[in-house]
């Protein structure tokens, strides 16, 4: 006879989520994401934004993150966010 578990405390209800392979219908081709160069989180984020939004990457096509310091990268991110309409969450 199996044990009947008496629940005394609520745990984390998160179900185990995941499938062997993501269904193709739930993914879309995004060129520019298969690169290993960006190492910092800021570099990754900017590279992802430019890959996901081709209209923006045209405007910033001369971007060379390797040649930028952190302050310049943050200014670039602010510019990209303005173009995409990504506003602060207030």
């Amino acid at each position: 006879m199996s044990k009947i578990r008496t629940k005394s405390r609520s745990g984390d209800p998160t179900p185990v989520t995941g499938v062997v392979a993501a269904p193709a219908r739930l993914l879309r081709p995004v060129p520019g994401l298969d690169v290993s160069a960006p190492t910092s989180q800021l570099d990754k984020h900017i590279t992802r934004l430019l890959a996901l939004h081709k209209n923006v990457s045209v405007k910033f096509r001369k971007v060379d993150l390797a040649a930028m310091d952190d302050t310049t990268k943050r200014a670039l991110l602010a510019s990209i966010n303005r173009v995409l309409g990504i506003e602060p969450l207030t």
Binding site: D12, P23, S36, I86, L89
Partner: protein, 211 residues
């Protein structure tokens, strides 16, 4: 979850402060959302997740993720910016929940629109009240869902998050309660849920303490 300004996107830079609820006392404990590398997964998941639970091997093996090799999965995508892995770490260094997500997801409710796709999500076995008698923490999974929504927002994907799971009452209850909309199952037999933009923004604002 985190306490930071959102206007300069400080929240994108891990580690980010988060909160877990101790199941025994109900008190909030400060935690962190951290990057989950293959090395960290190998050390802090696997055996570290599945030992000392006080349940038999046969019971552990019934868990859907018992055979998952997180480190191998993360390693497989190390050269792809489409995939990212994060975890919630408690003050003692244990990982309480983990997630692998993709930024090249596709909305099922807004054709053509992008979304973050959750590839894998799980809370540590020690936190599962269906598995152990005294679960440790709760809140790790929902914290990571909010992180996914925030990432989606910050990447210009309007906060949309998509997830596919094998059908289960637990998944339906969890994702609906988290604000996701169930999308009709198709021929692959999976349940798909999507967090729409408006719900995502509400979720982010509720979870992130924006100054």
């Amino acid at each position: 979850m985190a306490e930071a300004t959102a206007d300069d996107f400080e929240l994108l830079e891990l580690p980010v402060r988060a909160w877990l609820t101790h199941c025994d006392s109900g008190k909030k404990h400060e935690a962190q959302i951290v990057e989950l590398t293959a090395k960290v997964a190998k050390t802090k998941m696997g055996a570290a997740w599945w030992s000392n639970l006080g349940v038999s091997k046969s019971v552990r093996e019934q868990e859907g993720d018992h055979h998952w090799d997180w480190a191998a999965e993360i390693g497989k995508h190390r050269n792809s910016l489409a995939v990212e892995s994060v975890a919630v770490e408690s003050p003692n260094g244990d990982l309480q929940a983990a997630m692998i997500y993709r930024v090249d997801g596709q909305s099922t409710l807004e054709p053509g629109a992008g979304a973050v796709f959750i590839d894998r999500l799980a809370t540590a076995p020690r936190n599962r009240d269906w598995l152990v008698d005294s679960p440790a923490f709760r809140g790790g999974g929902t914290t990571l869902l909010s992180w996914a929504a925030y990432q989606s927002y910050a990447l210009g994907l309007a906060g949309r998050v998509v997830v596919a799971t094998l059908p289960s009452p637990r998944s339906i209850a969890f994702y609906k309660s988290a604000g996701f909309k169930a999308v009709k199952s198709e021929k692959d037999g999976m349940d798909v849920f999507e967090l729409e933009s408006a719900a995502a923004l509400n979720k982010i604002k509720q979870t992130l303490k924006v100054k």
